[in-house]
Amino acid sequence: MNNNRELLVEVKNLQTYFFLDEGTVHAVDGADFDIHRGETLGVVGESGCGKSVTARSILNIVPKPGKTVGGEILYHRKVKGVVQTIDLTKMEPQSDEMRQIRGAEIAMVFQEPMTSLSPVHTIGNQITEAIRLHQGLDRAAARELAIEMLDLVGMPLPNRTIDEYAHQLSGGMRQRAMIAMALSCHPSLLIADEPTTALDVTTEAQILKLMRQLQDELGMAIMYITHNLGVIAQMTENVVVMYMGKVVEEADVDTIFYNPQHPYTQALLQSIPRLGQKTARRGAGQRRLTSIRGMVPDPYALPKGCPFHPRCSQMIAGQCDQIEPQMIEVAPGHKVRCLACAGA
């Protein structure tokens, strides 16, 4: 890996809470990670671990009653060759400056391409909206650029599809349209929130390939959120594993797969089925596919100490259920939040 990596976004001790009648949910509670210019960061974790809320915190569009209550998101913005650093958490969500960053410099692709596109507007209308807003082009020029973008993402017959509605397109084409929309203003960071979860595997493969290829062409960084470790292996350079709103392990992709330290990461990797691995046949040497025992804790009543300790196989009694572990660097660039790993 090259040494002159340039920081794009630094998330430091981010805390985003949801204030509900039933109590406060600490959706993101101390997330730390860096995104480097032009690289891909994978964010993995179970449902409800705070991946998507972290993404929305970066864009400053956390839905009510959620609110970023602490931490920093330092965005190193390149304006005419000069790098400015701004803290996105300090900005007003509706301010003009925030809106100029949103969609133009940091764009997002969502999980469900069907519901993420307006049912009553053509995809062209929605793509040109972003182009006209951020690039100040007139209608005709914006339309031309939108057709160009649709062509770039491999949309068949772009000058016809531009006037179609979401329901007239297939799932893969819808997601291509979403990507065209997100990339239309050449963002420096693309946040992809499970963009292929709703697609079938062949389409998924095409979309992943497309995103990789576009990243090479346009040079943007990607924050790729998923619960699919296979996609992580294929797409990313660095990985962040999240559990209950916290980053529990951070390393480059090879280290995560070949030398995972955190018991949660290890458990996640063991729960992936492999081709050729027999699970159902009885007999010696055969094993069932491992699942992580226990349930995700109640978000209103987080366990004391390490939030993973009730499900952890390496739990140290008297320690893990008392002391909240801190992030420690076990090797250069490899950080783990675990007491058991600290002793090792």
Binding site: L59, I61, P63, Q94, M98, R99, Q100, I101, R102, G103, A104, A107, M108, F110, Q111, E112, T115, S116, L117, S118, P119, V120, H121, T122, Q126, E129, A130, L133, H134, Y165, H167, M178, M181
Partner: protein, 329 residues
Amino acid sequence: MLGYILRRIAMMIPTLAIISVISFVIIQLPPGDYLTSYAMSLAASGEAVDETEIENLRLRYGLGQPVYVQYYKWMSGILLHGDWGQSMEWRKPVKDLIWERMALTVFLSLVSIMVSWFVAIPVGVFSAVHQYSIPDYIFSTLSFIGTGTPGFMLAMVVMWVAMRQFGLNVGGLFSDEYIMAPWSWDKVVDMLKHLWIPVIVIAVGSTAGSIRTTRANVLDELNKPYVETARAKGVKERKLIWKYPVRVAMNPFFSTVGWTLAGLISGQTLVAVVLSLQTNGPMMLRALRSQDMYLAGSFLFLTSILTVIGTLISDITLAWVDPRIRMEG
């Protein structure tokens, strides 16, 4: 789309034929006819009933003939000559009676709908966007009171207040001196002076209902992912709310716009009776009570025609605003 519209229009013909038969049968259902109820009301007021005159009238209107002959005469008059028959009570062609009142009815309905939409849509959107805020609670309370208050009662209260507190001459759409006068600028001004009471009374109920509908629909749409997409693009909050969720939430309005057509005949009858408005509703009620056969039948038939046409208009508008249900071919 054109083929679809033509198919729908073709479908309307048998529908309307069946409806016309049903309307005619319904009018014939009560015992007796206009002349028996006419004779009874004469007797009740102590006047002498001239049997020969009654018999003459019965012959003249063909009331002694079998029902299917009467129906055939009525229908062929409508289809071939545009003649809807004679009103026995008013001694005038039905067509003239209805048209006289149609202009006012249409005008009143349109103004009320405009007023109610212009108030209800912004208020409903505001309530949805600021859900559970104090203004939302105030608007919600007001709209519940509005939907819960019967129009005729509100009409009486408004009339009483206007008369007692402001000494205004209310009721009707015109001052006495203009009722029979031909249309003139003064008459229009006079009408506008009277118009606000019925408009308010009619608009209050529908506004209140529309606020609830708008609020609920916008709330449904507000958290849809496509709204978040727009937000993530950096679109201004106010702009994106009107462009995306409100636009989708308006569909029920478009799909009910056709029903207001049928309301032109029978809508707001009670309010119109209380306020003595020269609209179609009270006339239809009276025709039904006095068994003024052709007038009542024409009203029923016209209401049905307008319902059928209105439904078609609704469907076309909805297909126009919502690409998801546009017909292929």
